[in-house]
């Protein structure tokens, strides 16, 4: 060791301060909060230590509603968005003209503000006394009656939420899959063509196995992202998600922390840990499944 060996830590110091204060300490603290029963944020006192907070959260109807909403959202949007992204990326890979233009356009939603564009979606789907809204007009062309997608029936609201979520996550998925498709070596296709292989067979036997690590990556990050859905719902239905019946788990955590129903960091912590356990479990299952189906080159 030379004399400036400890200087490295000096360079790390700012990062360590920030990470320690706002990432490591809070991570430990959240577990402490979650077992402090009857914590009062004003006096900073609590009655005892136990699992009551978890029991409270798991019996709260708002939490159960949020859990149901989140699971429906995950189950619908993850396969749907991955499937559509695969279709679009395959289409993109097969054309040469205008490819870059399409790629750029498809990526645009990534950089836009979720809240701002969500407002536009709300306007498009909302039925007001002045107008049925553009979507209802389109529905009318097919003979379907006007539906209020924002304040109406549960499945109408869920449809808009899923639609908007897919719209928001698509750019990232298309980008990842397009670069994965571009990296598949042409030699495989040439060899298959010599053997007279059909297009569909080439896709399922060459393309899919070759890009399976990327698909798998998208499925995992898709599950994680969809379980943490929140801003999209706020953008469409406003900040009082419980009243709209469209709350998500993350929304429940924030509502418990702050806002009209807030001031309960213990319940918020318990709910956040429940969410974390769910995400961890799903990710582990994904990893196990992928061992069988993903081909790493």
């Amino acid at each position: 060791m030379d004399n400036r060996s400890w200087k490295g830590w000096l360079y790390l110091l700012p990062a360590l301060c920030f990470l320690g204060a706002f990432l490591v300490y809070p991570l430990m603290d959240v577990f402490i909060y979650s077992v402090e029963e009857g914590y009062n944020s004003a006096s900073q006192t609590y009655f005892g230590v136990g699992l009551y907070n978890f029991s409270y959260v798991l019996h709260d109807t708002y939490f159960l509603q949020a859990l149901k909403n989140t699971f429906i959202l995950v189950i619908i949007t993850v396969p749907l968005s991955t499937g559509i992204a695969l279709l679009i990326s395959a289409a993109l890979a097969s054309v040469r003209k205008l490819r870059e233009l399409f790629q750029t356009v498809f990526f645009l939603p990534y950089v836009t503000n979720t809240l701002a564009v969500g407002l536009v979606f709300m306007i498009l789907f909302k039925k007001t006394p002045y107008s049925d809204g553009l979507m209802n007009l389109l529905l009318g062309l097919f003979g379907a009656g006007p539906v209020d997608f924002i304040d109406g029936p549960y499945w109408a609201k869920m449809f808009v939420l899923c639609f908007y979520t897919v719209w928001v996550v698509m750019p990232f998925k298309i980008l990842i899959l397009t670069s994965a498709l571009a990296s598949v070596s042409q030699t495989y296709y040439n060899a298959a063509r010599v053997d007279g292989t059909g297009r569909l067979r080439m896709f399922t036997k060459i393309t899919l196995p070759m890009i399976s690590p990327s698909i798998f990556y998208l499925v995992i990050t898709g599950f994680i992202g969809a379980f943490k859905a929140y801003s999209d719902a706020v953008a469409l239905f406003g900040t009082d998600l419980n009243a709209a019946g469209m709350n998500t788990i993350v929304g429940y955590v924030y509502d418990m922390l702050y806002g009209n129903s807030g001031g309960y960091p213990s319940y918020a912590s318990a709910a956040a840990i429940v969410l974390f356990v769910i995400v961890l479990t799903i990710t582990c299952i994904n990893l196990l499944v992928s061992r069988k189906h993903v081909h790493y080159v």
Binding site: Y11, P14, A15, F22, P26, L92, F102, L134, L175, S179
Partner: protein, 287 residues
């Protein structure tokens, strides 16, 4: 065998396939662009003409800019924009200093416990923001930093992923350059500033842009930490406008506000789209 017939059939099938593919691409492009078109269109319709259209029209013959005036006058949209610019610039600048120094330490310096520290850093990437936001909220509240820029900025600074990205790039610079600089008596900091940063400029630009996008769109943390409209960022501002902005539902003015807060990022994207897409493809996820 009628080769001509076979060939013609093959060409026809090829053309149908191409048409279908382009139809799909155009369809998706319309789906992506339509909300943007709609916000632009609605923002130039006058309040009266928007509300008189029971069937919304897809174009307007009398565009007006009055909505932009009311967006900036009736609600403090200008203030939201300034706040967001200050927040974005300060957070990004702090992030760059912290990240560059940490990446330099990991990539270039030798110190006891380096490998262990790097592994610990990497494992931090797995901590979900939702778990730590609760304590951060309590910390900032206890420090009386609610409704301040310090409270907004400090917890948003670090990104472990960017340290990793930059460290990988720094590590590609050949050691010989470092030793040559050492022989000339260059200090570590000067070497970092004069050699490493210029060489790795593309990565640094990418990291900067990604952070700017993330800051501009951040919503959850600002919402928790500010309830004074003087400190709202654009996301919270738009939510405020929506919930109790222009009195009666003045949709055109809302859309003008939405356009105003979307333009900076869209312009940034049009200039840097190659860099942004390459950066995200290397492992970014949406905030």
């Amino acid at each position: 065998m009628d080769y001509e017939k076979l060939e013609r059939r093959a060409r026809l099938r090829d053309r149908t396939r191409k048409t279908l593919v382009y139809a799909l691409l155009v369809f998706w492009a319309v789906l992506v662009l339509f909300p943007f078109y709609w916000m632009l269109l609605t923002s130039v319709k006058s309040y009266g003409s928007y509300n008189s259209e029971f069937i919304p029209r897809l174009y307007t013959l009398t565009p007006t800019l009055e909505n932009y005036l009311s967006a900036f006058q009736a609600v403090p949209l200008g203030r939201y924009l300034v706040n967001t610019v200050v927040f974005t610039l300060a957070t990004t600048a702090l992030m760059l200093v912290v990240t560059v120094l940490a990446a330099f330490a990991f990539a270039r310096l030798n110190f006891p416990g380096k490998d262990l520290a790097f592994t610990a850093f990497l494992s931090l990437m797995m901590i979900p923001a939702e778990l730590v936001v609760i304590t951060n909220f309590v910390t900032i509240t206890d420090l009386n930093l609610r409704n301040t820029f310090a409270g907004l900025i400090l917890p948003s600074v670090t990104s472990v992923f960017y340290i990793y990205l930059l460290k990988e790039n720094f590590a590609q610079i050949p050691d010989e350059l470092y030793y040559a600089a050492k022989v000339d008596g260059t200090s570590d900091l000067k070497y970092l500033w004069k050699v490493m940063i210029p060489i790795c400029q593309p990565t640094i630009v990418t990291v900067t842009i990604l952070k700017v996008i993330e800051c501009w769109n951040s919503f959850v943390w600002p919402r928790l930490i500010t309830d004074d409209a003087n400190y709202f960022l654009v996301s919270n501002g738009i939510q405020e406008i929506r919930e109790n902005g222009f009195g009666r539902e003045n949709v055109p003015a809302m859309m003008a506000a939405v356009v105003a807060i979307s333009i900076p990022l869209v312009v940034l994207f049009l200039i840097f789209h190659k860099k942004i897409m390459a950066g995200v493809a290397r492992g970014g996820t949406k905030g």
